[in-house]
């Protein structure tokens, strides 16, 4: 097979570098516009929901609320669903169900009850910019992550993990991160009603229940 590698001249490399610098200037401008929130957000180590275990997508055959209720004993809700259950507001436009589960038993139970499809749905991209049916995105894990209990008795991921999941799902989006900070009541230096503590404590953490 012929070698198609292109060797660049020093001038071509310099042009490439100048393009990089231009992109960097744009990033710095975005950072400047975002203000202090950018600096807080970029300190977060992203956590990929789908990377925590085996991700399974099932199509919802009932309302989102019914599926969430049916999963209540088994699931630790994650990502957008966690934020909606905890605070009534989410950060993704499409309202699906993201949850950590141990094993497939809950999926089989919900399928038998006619709440979700029996078969896996081929498309398990968490944030999809194309249309499709509303899904349950279940990340099957060996052990449920640490959680907190919110109104209604649902278990959702901890405050800190939710921030990491947000950045791990949509990337460093200052507009969404600031929403997360606001709904979680995380104090930000210089904010109008800032308290002395940097962040209110999480409600008592619940250790994983499998």
């Amino acid at each position: 097979m012929p070698d198609v590698r292109k060797f660049l001249t020093a001038d071509e490399r310099l042009k490439e570098l100048q393009r990089d610098r231009k992109a960097l200037r744009r990033e710095r401008m975005i950072r400047e516009v975002a203000g202090p929130v950018w600096h807080r957000m970029v300190r977060v180590v992203p956590l990929s929901f789908e990377g925590q275990g085996r991700l399974v997508a099932r199509v919802l055959l009932a309302s989102r609320e019914d599926v969430i209720e049916a999963l209540r004993p088994d699931a630790v809700f994650a990502v957008d669903t966690a934020m909606r259950l905890a605070h009534g507001a989410g950060f993704l436009a499409i309202q699906e169900v993201q949850a950590y589960l141990v094993g497939e038993e809950p999926l089989n139970r919900l399928a038998t009850a006619g709440l979700i499809s029996s078969d896996d749905y081929f498309d398990s991209i968490v944030v999809r910019p194309w249309p499709g049916p509303t899904r349950l995105l279940a990340c099957l894990v060996d052990e449920l992550p640490p959680s907190r209990e919110v109104q209604g008795g649902y278990r959702v991921v901890t405050r800190e993990r939710l921030g990491r999941e947000l950045v791990g799902t949509v990337g460093p989006r200052a507009d969404l991160f600031v929403l997360y900070e606001k709904v979680e009541g995380i104090e930000t230096p210089g904010a109008p009603e800032s308290r002395t503590a940097s962040s209110p404590p999480d409600p008592p953490e619940r250790r994983p229940r499998s």
Binding site: F7, L8, T9, A23, E27, G51
Partner: protein, 216 residues
């Protein structure tokens, strides 16, 4: 001087370089003065010069690139003569101006010290692809328990201006994000790092802690 990904060949590490091309930095002044002799000497050893570039292909198709280092104040620029033109990077030039950032190799020549490798890879060309950032994070994760190493990295980071530190932090986060998002991670040359996601996260946590200590 071994630089770029090839810096990983210069010290003991489990982090694979993945790419086989070798980057070697030479003083810009040497290239300007002896460019033609360098090309001829390499050709005599069987390395084919790619005309107009600073790339050479060896007898067994090993590729290596020459680049220059010089006065950091002159910024990024192309140096050398028509016989051999090299790219001179400001960041690398600044770092190499301090002799303690490099070490002698047993087989001859010099290489970046592990801490210098980490800082150069993170800071150089902040917008560059994720491969270099991931390599740096993986070395940070691997050597994180080594206090002397960590202090050395902290010392080098302290010399980077605050805006560049913000670039560096964002680029490192973006590299980890890219790795997490794409299970078949397709950043050129970095595909083999997809199985090292957890270690890259550990490296990012360590970098974050170091930057916190610098109040950056």
């Amino acid at each position: 001087m071994l630089v770029g990904s090839s810096g990983l060949f210069g010290f003991e590490t489990q982090v694979p370089a993945l790419t086989e091309d070798i980057d070697i930095a030479v003083p810009e002044a040497t290239v300007a003065r002896h460019g033609r002799e360098i090309v001829e000497a390499l050709q005599a050893q069987g390395f084919e010069h790619q005309p107009g570039t600073a790339s050479f292909i060896g007898p067994e198709n090993a590729v290596f690139d020459l680049l220059g280092h010089g006065e950091a104040e002159e910024g990024d620029h192309a140096g050398g003569t028509d016989a051999l033109r090299v790219m001179v990077f400001e960041d690398l030039s600044r770092l190499l101006a301090t002799p303690q950032t490099t070490m002698e190799l047993p087989s001859g020549g010099r290489a970046l010290r592990p801490a210098s490798f980490v800082v150069v890879s993170l800071a150089e060309r902040a917008h560059k692809g994720a491969k270099d950032k991931l390599q740096a994070l993986l070395v940070l994760a691997e050597r994180g328990e080594d206090e002397a190493f960590e202090a050395e990295v902290g010392g080098l980071l302290a010399g980077v201006d605050p805006e560049r530190l913000a670039d560096l932090r964002a680029a490192a986060q973006a590299a980890v994000f890219s790795l997490q998002k794409d299970p078949t991670f397709s950043d050129a040359g970095a595909e083999g790092y997809s199985s090292m996601r957890h270690q890259a996260e550990v490296g990012l946590e360590r970098l974050s802690a170091l930057l916190e200590r610098l109040n950056a």
